[in-house]
Each structure stands twice: as structure tokens, then as C-alpha cells.
Symmetry: C2
Subunit: 458 residues, 2 copies
């Protein structure tokens, strides 16, 4: 077997375990791993002088550099921010290389499908955590139910990137384990859309964090889920066109959303305009921007009154913990948006400490009818990181990407085109191998979650 | 005096009294009025066979038609939707014609300023009601206070297009007297920004209709105002760069905003996405889209619970009056946005009856310091329409446009460039003449509205 060269573009947070996995297999599988990043230093850190690895400086917008690196590769993994994949993808088509990403398939990427198929290449996307493990673990159970003759009635799926119980030290039960900006902006850009018992439902951003549902995970207690924008996106892809209930959500610990709703109501998560004088603005002054003027009343009482927080409501302590009423702490940001200011304040308290661990939680509900009976399977996955490098997030995003890459190289995943991991050929072996890395789902037979007891007669 | 030709482009609602004014003066002033509209019929209606008028068919996107009509004119009035002015404006520059509009100065329009000045032309904009009469009436008082040595401390300005008391027959005390779509979308597109006692304040859309203030107008009772998006837009234009309090708002009758807030919270004013199956959807089903699913609970109770409307809250009757829970009335719109559906429902109840009259209300507050004393002038204007053609809106928008046009023709308004009506040369004669048409302001000396009693010592 001749040496196969894997080009990994982008040496960000989520790439470390992906590269480790490939380097660990490199001897046996005859792999050479080239890690290319705009920062040579970052790429070198990941390769860590491994004999089968090589770090290169790679600017994805330098066409010559990019084309040459791709031309030298057998297969390409792009771990760049999603909007940059298309540059790489176009070269891969041209140069006849298969490609793997953990990102949602963009319109531009989808448009390459015909050419990719014609050249017999595999462009596997959405094979990280969410999207990725959610697709695979859901399709595995959906296919099994349907193969047994079941008819799907309900599918709900929730994922959360959270902090591990042993590192859960604040009142929000939350720390930034991923891009803080995405957390602050979560849910913006359109109403959440889903379908429940055959009825379309829409939740506008201003109600999103008040329309949560609770979920229990064995051994980990209670979580809450709020709706994702795009619950109906995979209806056809999953073969669920006629399903009466379809809902996708994001998990937080109980109480997070109700407190976060305060920021939404106040307008502090708005990223659409810039404030004045945020360089020298105190946290307290920032809060006061969004409250009526008063020469005498305190910012605290104005906030309590404005968003109706009772004297004995514990969510008040969540706000105090963030020190948002501090008149001395300065934002230190130039003409920032409200969202950027809020992020700055949250980073004081929600940044992982050196020994903190993160936690991924995934929860699927599958309601179905078989032989005239209504049943439900709940499936849960919890994964806890080792440290701040080997995070659960980097592991669950990076490992499926690496595993898919190796299987494409080895001719085990062969269906050509712009793909996502919903066929047995892909999800069966990868979910199996993920178990070796502690990424496992527990399944529970539970009573069917009936939103409509009358129509079910029970 | 040779005949002067006035070209009026656009024969919409607000153009009728403008054209009447010019036709009435045509004999004495030696005017010929050409009304051009894409609908010849609409143009003919306005001209009404007047010997000094002429109706033409004019498509503003037909370059030849447009250029020729402008070339034949002495001066051009554009009453088109604001985004179409620029086509006319570029021709006017090229062909050396002055121009008048009632719209906000766009960036593209402003960019013509240098050329317009070089050619010695007057492009008078923002000379309708709001913008227009608001600028003129505010500047008149501001200039007077400052000419007398006063220092401005506060300027607040409110305008509302409402229904006249004798036609005020519903619980919302509101009917559509202008473009309903603009009413449904009011306040969207960014936080409202203003300054109060030297402190910047921001109100996000989701709180806009809960941060109102009350205003009394002698003989007309109480109104409420909510903040406009752009309160700071005219700070420099009005010479108020250092003013501690500057606020612009929209007027409604008391209670409107609190009830409207329900629609905002529910997501019914969202215009950013399209719903499914709105053709056959009932009003009741539309409301239910935004409420949690329940097989048993009524849409009524779910709404009450979701947005916390008490059993004895009168705003409930406002909702019932709109018949929003009717399961039989269908929307009849194809894949409409929530905002379009809401507009459809409101049009049932808020459309003016044949004999209904509209009402314009404007309210300015001027706080200032003079000789060590703090004082305040409040100025109010109320104008009531005659019928559905001669509305207060058409009168207050159209007459200032017509008056400015005649004064430019007669060399009384001469300052060249892209202008708005803030100089004495413009506002003094026009405000004076508007009085002949019943558009008058009442001024009241009132105690200074102190938001900050401690710093004022009182």
C-alpha cells in the first residue's frame, strides 16, 4: 500500500483529536498527515513532531499555495470556518480529491454535487457532532424502527455543549466551551419553526427562551431545551415527510433560559448596531442604556421593575453573579454592539478555568407505532472532556471526521457526491468505532410521549 | 410673466390637495400643471379637466418618457415612493430643473448636492408632514428661543396619523389612515436610540411598545408616544449637538401600544419569513401558530396564559374585537408572512368607513434655560380631514410641498443644493400660509419637564 497523504486545513480548537487519531493510525494505515494553517505555529503544535506528520503554513486565500497543497494530497479535510470551505471544495473537484468537513452543506457546496459525482469523488459534510453524530445516531434508530415495520410519529433531538458536573461552579450552570459569540447570538435571525401533532408552530426570538421543555438524563439530572431555528430542515433527508411531530433543540441546564431571556428582552443580545463610547463604559452604564432614565432610582430597581423580577426570584442572583451592576469595571471595547458588550461581561465569569472540563449532551426521542401500539425510544449520549485541549467538543467533532476520512481512503465509504452521513454504509461503522472512544448512546424504552391523549385514546 | 410648467410625478393619495392648490393658483401665478402617473386614469382624476391642468401617462422607468416630461417642465415635484425619487433627481440635475419631494433625503440624493449647487438648483426634500411640518414648526420655536439667548435643554417631538374623534369607533381608537403595512412593521429594523439628560438610551423592538409616555392635547384628551428609531438623526441639523434630552416618537391613543405589544411578543408582526398554507388558514389557526400545542386547551386560554393577560384586563376586549379567534374567517393569502396575515386581520376592523375622517396630531416640547431660569414651551397641532379624499394626511403632506414649489418658482426660496426646510427663508412663509388652511400650532408655557429634579434644584 502506497502512502496516502491527508491534508488537514485549519488547526483550530476542534482539530487536535482529529489529527491525533490520524497520526496514531498513520503507521498501520500508511498515512502522511499534512496540517496546514495560516499560523505555522498552530499547525506545528498539532503535529507535535510526529514522524508521519508535517506542518505547513497555508493561507486558504493564496490560490497557488492552496492548489499546490491540495494537489499533493490524496484526500482533504477542511476544518476552516464554514464559509471558507467552498474555496477548498472547488479545487478538490478540479484536482479530483475527495473531501471531508464537519459543517452544514452550503448552497455553493450543494451546487458541486453533479461534478463531484461525475468524478466519482466523496464530499462528506456534516460529520462532526451537531451536525454529525446527531444525524448518525438518529438515522440508526430511525432505520431500525422502520426496518421492523414501525411508523414514525415523533422525533425530537437536542444537543448541548455544556460544562461537566465537576466544573459546574456558577449559578447559570454554564461556561463557554465553544465560540462565545455564537452563544450570545443563538436563536437570532428568524423564528424557530417546528411541527407538533401535525400543526406548524413558530416561536419568535423574543419568546424563544420562554418556550423550553425539560429533559432528564440518567445520572446527570435535569436539562432544558429551547427550539432551534431549523427543525424542519431534515424532514425530507431523514425520510420523515409525514411525521406529525418534529422538533430540534439546544440543551442548557434548568433555569438558564429564563435568565437569558432577561438579556433578550433588554436588547443586550442585539448585534445589529453599534453603541457609543463603549471603551470607557462601565458594566453598570451598559445595563442602564436599556432602562428608562431616572435621576434617583437605582439601575437594580429599574431592571427589576422593567422586566418584572420578583424580590425572591433566584434569577436575580444569576445577574448579580455576573457583576453587571459594577460601576467600576469597564467594557474596554471600541464602538461595540450590545452583543459584543454582553459577551465581554460574560467572559469574566463563563471562561473555563485551566482544570475545567466540558460536557456534550445529546438527547433523541423517537415515537412510533408498531402492530397497533404506540411506543417510544429515548436515546442519550453524554461525553465529558479530559482537559481544555482534549475537550468533549473537539473529540465529538473531530473523531467522526477522521474516521470518515480513513474509510473514504480505504474504499469503505464509496457513494459519490456531496453527502451527509445518513446511510448505513457511513453511520454503522463510525458509530461502532466511536464507542471505543467512549462516545456511546444509552437507549430507553419509555411510554409514548403523547401530546394528544384524546386522539390516542390513552 | 411666461407660463411656468409644474410636473407632478405620482398621483397617489397624498397628491390630491397638492394638485388642487396649484390649480387654484394657476390663473394668478400663470402655472400649467402636468400630472404624470403610470395610471393615466389616476392622473386624470386629480386634474379633473381643469383648463390649466394636463394628465399624462408616465412610467418613471421609461427613460425617454421621463426625460421628455422633465425637460418640458419648469420645476418637478416627485410624489413617488421614496426609492424612486433618485431616477427623477438625476434627470433634474442633468436638465437643470429644481425639484421638491416630501421624503427623507437618501444617501443617493445627498450625493447630488455638489452638482445641484453648481447648477444653482433647489432640491427641497422632507417638506411634507413628518418629515416636513415637524421640521419647520420645530425650527421656528428653536430659532426663536436661541435668538432670544436661550439654551436648549430638551426637545421632544411626536407625530401621529390617527382617526378623528367623531370617527373613533373601535376599542383601539385607531384605524388605518395611511399605508397599513407601515403600521404593522412600525419600529422594526433596529433599536430606538435617543438621549435623556445626557445619557444615551436604547429600546429594542421587543420593548418598544411598553416604553411609552403620555401626552395631553387640549380639547383632544390623552395620547401616548413610543420612540422612533432615529431620534438622534437631526441633532446636528437642528443645531442641538449638546442638548441633554432629544427624543422623537409616534403618537397613538392611550392603550394602543400595550395591546399592540401582544402581537409583537407573539411574533405576529414578523415580516422576515413565509408561513405555510395561509390561503385556507383561519384567523384562529394563525394565532395558534405562535402558541404551544395542546389537545385540550383553547387558543384563548393559551394566549392569555402565554402573554399573561389577566381575566379582567380590558386589552382582551381589544383582541376579541379584531375577531382573531374566529375559526371560520380565512386569511386567503398565499404563503404570507406573519405581518401580512396580521395586516389582513386588522384591515377588517381598521379600514376607514366612507364617512370616516382622519386626524393628524403633532406635539413638540422645548425645554430651555434663559436668564438662569428653566422654562418649557409645548406646541401642539391637530388637523382633521374633510373626508376620505381630502384627508388631514393628504393636506398636511401635500400643501407644504405645493407651497415650497411655488416659492422656488417665484424666487422666494433660493438657497441652492439638496435641502430640507430648516431655514427661516423656507419655514416662516410656509408656516404662515399653512395657517390659512387651518394648519396651526398652539403654544403653551408650561413648567420645565425635569427628568432630573436634583440637578435642577427643584
Amino acid at each position: 500500500m502506497s502512502t496516502r497523504t491527508v491534508l488537514v486545513i485549519g488547526a483550530g480548537k476542534s482539530t487536535s483529536q482529529l489529527v491525533n487519531y490520524l497520526l496514531d493510525k498513520s503507521q498501520k494505515e500508511n498515512l502522511k498527515i499534512i496540517v496546514g494553517d495560516i499560523s505555522l505555529e498552530n499547525a506545528q503544535k498539532l503535529v507535535n513532531k510526529h514522524p508521519n506528520g508535517n506542518a505547513i503554513s497555508l493561507d486558504v486565500f493564496n490560490e497557488q499555495q492552496r492548489t499546490q497543497a491540495i494537489d499533493n494530497a490524496t484526500i482533504v479535510i477542511s476544518m476552516l470556518p464554514a464559509r471558507f470551505h467552498i474555496e477548498v471544495a472547488r479545487d478538490c473537484v478540479k484536482l479530483g480529491k475527495s473531501m471531508v468537513t464537519a459543517s452544514y452543506i452550503s448552497k455553493e457546496m450543494q451546487a458541486l454535487d453533479k461534478e463531484v459525482k461525475e468524478k466519482g469523488l466523496v464530499f462528506m459534510n456534516e460529520i462532526g457532532l451537531d451536525p454529525g453524530i446527531d444525524h448518525m445516531s438518529a438515522m440508526q434508530v430511525l432505520d431500525r424502527i422502520r426496518d421492523n415495520g414501525g411508523k414514525m410519529l415523533l422525533f425530537e433531538s437536542f444537543t448541548g455543549g455544556l460544562v461537566a458536573p465537576e466544573s459546574d461552579t456558577n449559578l447559570w450552570n454554564y461556561k463557554f466551551t465553544w465560540n462565545p459569540r455564537n452563544v450570545v447570538l443563538a436563536g437570532q435571525g428568524g423564528a424557530a419553526e417546528f411541527i407538533q401533532e401535525g400543526t406548524y408552530k413558530y416561536i419568535p426570538y423574543q419568546r424563544l427562551f420562554r418556550r423550553t421543555e425539560f429533559l432528564e438524563v440518567e445520572g446527570y439530572g435535569r436539562f432544558e431545551g429551547y427550539a432551534n431555528r431549523n427543525s424542519l430542515k431534515y424532514r425530507s433527508v431523514y425520510g420523515l415527510d409525514d411525521i406529525p411531530t418534529l422538533y430540534r433543540g439546544t440543551l442548557r441546564r434548568v433555569g438558564f433560559s429564563k435568565a437569558w431571556h432577561i438579556f433578550v428582552m433588554m436588547g443586550m443580545t442585539d448585534d445589529s448596531y453599534n453603541l457609543q463610547e463603549t471603551e470607557t463604559m462601565s458594566y453598570r452604564d451598559f445595563v442602564n442604556l436599556f432602562l428608562p432614565y431616572s435621576p434617583t432610582d437605582s439601575v437594580e430597581l429599574k431592571l427589576r421593575h422593567h422586566v418584572k423580577i420578583d424580590q425572591d426570584d433566584l434569577l436575580w442572583d444569576k445577574l448579580l453573579e455576573l457583576d453587571i451592576f459594577n460601576p467600576y469595571k469597564k467594557l474596554g471595547l471600541t464602538n461595540a454592539t450590545p452583543a459584543q458588550c454582553l459577551q465581554r461581561i460574560l467572559e469574566d465569569k463563563w471562561t473555563l478555568a485551566p482544570n475545567d472540563k466540558d460536557m456534550i449532551v445529546m438527547y433523541h426521542k423517537f415515537g412510533y407505532e408498531i402492530n397497533g401500539q404506540r411506543k417510544q425510544i429515548d436515546a442519550t449520549m453524554v461525553n465529558i472532556g479530559e482537559d481544555q485541549i482534549e475537550t468533549a467538543m473537539a473529540r465529538t467533532v473531530g473523531l467522526p471526521v477522521a474516521m470518515a476520512t480513513l474509510r473514504i481512503l480505504n474504499g469503505e465509504i464509496t457513494t459519490p457526491g456531496v453527502q451527509l452521513p445518513i446511510s448505513k454504509e457511513v453511520y454503522e461503522p463510525i458509530l461502532k468505532e466511536l464507542e471505543d472512544y467512549g462516545i456511546t448512546f444509552k437507549e430507553y424504552d419509555v411510554p409514548y410521549l403523547s401530546y394528544n391523549p384524546h386522539s390516542t385514546g390513552g
